[in-house]
Symmetry: C2
Subunit: 522 residues, 2 copies
């Protein structure tokens, strides 16, 4: 009982003045402030599989890699890398003996690492009990209450980067927060990278598809951070999606090779809709996902031992009646929990997805599915959660209001992940003694000391009485969110960027754009 | 590897015919059918507190009972019971030595028990890894899209009982699914009990307030089940809410005494809004909740050793800015997870609450908060989840559409709680071998064998394409739910009730109603 925070359990005499100040300081310390660069978990993970189940599926993954193998299409260099490492390469098919990939990964992959940001205080930790929340990635459409659903533009992209920059419980600026389809498909990655660099000072993604765009990403990162710094620090984050089942194509592997070679983070992430791209069962999908991760992560480590990498899983489900993708399903919950266990056993950070839904609008279905998905990923111990905000319609749409409503849950899980404060102040025994049976705590000295930080406060939720809610317009949460994102855009201030860096980035982009004709396909 | 379900891991040769049939049977066995009488969990619980934290708060609860004590107001019999058991009774204040209540409870309280239903196949298990989902309790208002928000009537009560009876993933008919305020306050419990008995054949609540209504509940249960049967089996479920902090009034204790004496289930459930009825901290609230539970459960066991009882916790939060109750908060999540741990350590089943929200309508906020709350309660290992469907506006409103949307999540958690099927069929190694890299599983023989039961199918969610969704009206989930509850009411069929029992119940109700004047207050 030496811990002063616990002394009120046993100490009869109290020194109110000094204890009060100490307790207030303790309360502030215990509560991560809004704007913490990442969540540092003080809670455990939820393990859904037993040791026996884990071994069974790990054995199945090994069996798949040995018997069926994985195809690396259109990239002879990768085949040579695997052949040199001892794999059985036949055509584009790579087969590995049980344990081979795991042992390559365990030998050199870091258990945790930092991704840098141009504002050093926004650097994020990947692994080691940290969780990083990131906006939606990839939608060609946007939705908001004013305009409904339409194709996204660069203006939307910039708006979404700004809105997220203003949201205290997001940690990462993301990547393709929406597809600016008003720009040529083969050049827009330059504008997107520039928008992230200029409009936010949080970490961001490199371009995912193709070695050329990955090289552009590295080049721009070197302008921002310095060339040597980039070679020795993780400054870019990238996802490499396998083409499940059991294929990695050259568009994905091309980018993977660039990032791995430069020591930038790669999250090897099978994207599966169970029933289409993997078996329609949880255990079957998990074995396939793990097999693909093992092959992809081994490739990263064979390219550059020690390169930062994450095991990823984006395992969703399918309506077996219509063939439509489904989200927030019980099967997806089971899969993310198990995948987190596999990543921990492998000894690499875990990347997954968050607030997914097939709803077209930010309604009850959207938030039921999204809350389910984000919570499961948090409980799975995810170290990076992509799509933590804004996703609608199976990822086709980035929702402005959905972003704001989801951000409330991001703040909730940050507070939740802090676990239970057991300090003397939090135990509040004196408050219970002071108030006694049948009275209330509203005016107690303990409440007065703690009320400012006692509870998490969501932004879009309305907790007022029916009468007050009605008097204020009787709005639903999407309507309130509409006001909030507009206010965030009004209040947004661009973080200062060194004019010389800005100039160099603009110059690089102009030269690259001039070097090739516009294309409206990838 | 003797388990035939796992033999495909090791067996090279396969007998497709016999294995196929066996696997299909296994798949059917593993998936609890819609309409299972309760959830039998195959997953663990999420422990948020360490052993050290648990002991700290248990010690604090003991300290509260010893130093502050609990008041039992207006009931000298209870004071005498505690005095005889060795407590320090002063006025209405009962103080107990550390460990006294826990030892009384552990000595005789059952770890699990069944609550019977007039349809024996609908009996529910409380405890032992079972989870029972129950409708909202108590709202004086209803909300639906056709009429908005208005006072509830007996017609609404009957509608909600019928709708829930038709929902396959609910297990309990509940109690005051809404307050039929068109009936006299002092007699409506008779009509509510009769509606549950007549319109559903699932288990139901006894009336919670006052010994007189509890006695009516026992009398009607005896007409339904037989007098001896009721004395020897749990046929009624009741919640006894403490008047936090640290008071049990005679309205609650009166009913508690009746149910305990007759061996009917009592869930001793402190209802706290942290910051008003308990300290504004999680650890402080937990100690107070546990203290109140210990006193209440000890009382139950002192009245009738072995009487079925549950430790309950309904620990919500307050907006410290407006004083409004808040739901789905991170603090509420932490509290329910910890409370579940305390119940397991005490050795009694755990009762708590589910899909709560302060939203006025079934919107994004409503489902974000509700999904959060229900999932936390499931992860907490709750054995009985009250308010699993329909709750709106801090419990003032029962929502017709909210009921339907919430029921989708009830089905989800039932499937989730089954854990991961590790049978040979579920491992699907042959499917992966058959399909191979780059192909798809939609037409694989494994998918064709499993597609009917492969995935959970929610009712109100729309997973179709934007174009199809728009062509079908572009409805939100509440609008779809509106059609669903109307269809359920149309399709509803009343389960047959023995006419003699029905006659006896009507006779009892008529006599009781005639015996007292109407009152419009409790």
């Amino acid at each position: 009982m030496a811990d002063p925070d616990k002394s009120s359990v046993t100490s009869g005499a109290r020194r109110p003045g000094s204890r009060g100040r100490e307790d207030r300081r303790a309360a502030r310390r215990k509560r991560a402030p809004p704007g913490a660069p990442f969540i540092q978990r003080k809670i455990g993970c939820f393990d859904i599989l037993s040791e026996e189940g884990l071994c069974l599926i790990e054995n199945n993954a090994d069996q798949i890699l040995k018997e069926v193998g994985m195809e690396f299409r259109g990239d002879p260099e990768i085949l040579a890398i695997f052949r040199a490492a001892g794999a059985d390469v036949s055509g584009e098919r790579v087969r590995c003996e049980p344990g081979m990939c795991r042992s390559i990964i365990r030998k050199s992959a870091p258990r945790s690492f930092m991704q840098q940001a141009r504002n050093p205080s926004n650097a994020v930790k990947l692994g080691d009990g940290a969780t990083v929340l990131c906006p939606v990635f990839g939608p060609p459409f946007i939705h908001n209450l004013d305009e409904g659903r339409r194709y996204a533009t660069l203006r939307d992209f910039e708006n979404l980067v700004k809105i997220h920059h203003m949201l205290p419980y997001l940690h990462h600026s993301g990547g393709v927060v929406c597809e600016p389809v008003d720009l040529p498909a083969n050049k827009r990655h330059l504008d997107m990278l520039y928008a992230h660099i200029r409009l936010s000072d949080r970490p961001f993604f490199g371009a995912l598809i193709g070695s050329e765009r990955a090289n552009d990403s590295v080049a721009m990162a070197k302008i921002l951070f310095g060339a040597d710094y980039v070679e020795n620090n993780c400054c870019l984050y990238a996802v490499s999606n396998t083409n499940a089942p059991l294929v990695l194509d050259s568009a994905m592997s091309g980018a993977l090779k660039v990032y791995a070679a430069h020591g930038q983070a790669v999250a090897v992430t099978p994207w599966t809709l169970a029933g289409a791209m993997s078996p329609c069962t949880v255990a079957g999908t998990l074995a396939q996902v793990l097999a693909e991760c093992l092959a992809g992560l081994a490739l990263v480590q064979l390219i550059r031992p020690g390169a930062p990498c994450l095991m990823g899983s984006f395992a969703s489900t399918l309506s077996m009646q219509s063939g439509a993708p489904t989200f927030g399903s019980p099967e997806s919950g089971k899969m993310v929990l198990a995948a987190g266990q596999f990543a921990r056993r492998l000894g690499v950070p875990f990347h997954t997805v968050g607030a997914l839904t097939s709803s077209k609008i930010p309604d009850g279905q959207a938030e039921q599915e999204s809350a389910y998905g984000l919570l499961m990923s948090v409980l799975a111990g995810a170290n990076f959660i992509n799509h933590a905000t804004g996703w609608l319609e199976g990822g086709l749409v980035a929702g402005y209001e959905k972003t704001i409503i989801d951000a409330d849950l991001c703040g909730n899980v940050q507070s939740f992940a802090e676990g239970i404060d057991l300090s003397g102040n939090a135990q509040a025994l004196d408050a219970i003694r002071e108030v006694g049976p049948g009275a209330h705590f509203l005016g107690s000295s303990h409440t007065l000391r703690n009320f400012e930080t006692a509870m998490y406060r969501p932004a879009a939720a309305d907790n007022n009485s029916y009468e007050q809610w009605l008097a204020e317009g009787g709005f639903d949460s999407a309507q309130r969110a509409n006001s909030i994102w507009k206010r965030l855009l009004r209040d947004y201030e661009q973080p200062a960027l060194d004019p010389a860096v800005d100039e160099a980035l603009r110059d690089y982009i102009a030269r690259r754009k001039a070097s090739m004709p516009d294309q409206n396909y990838y």
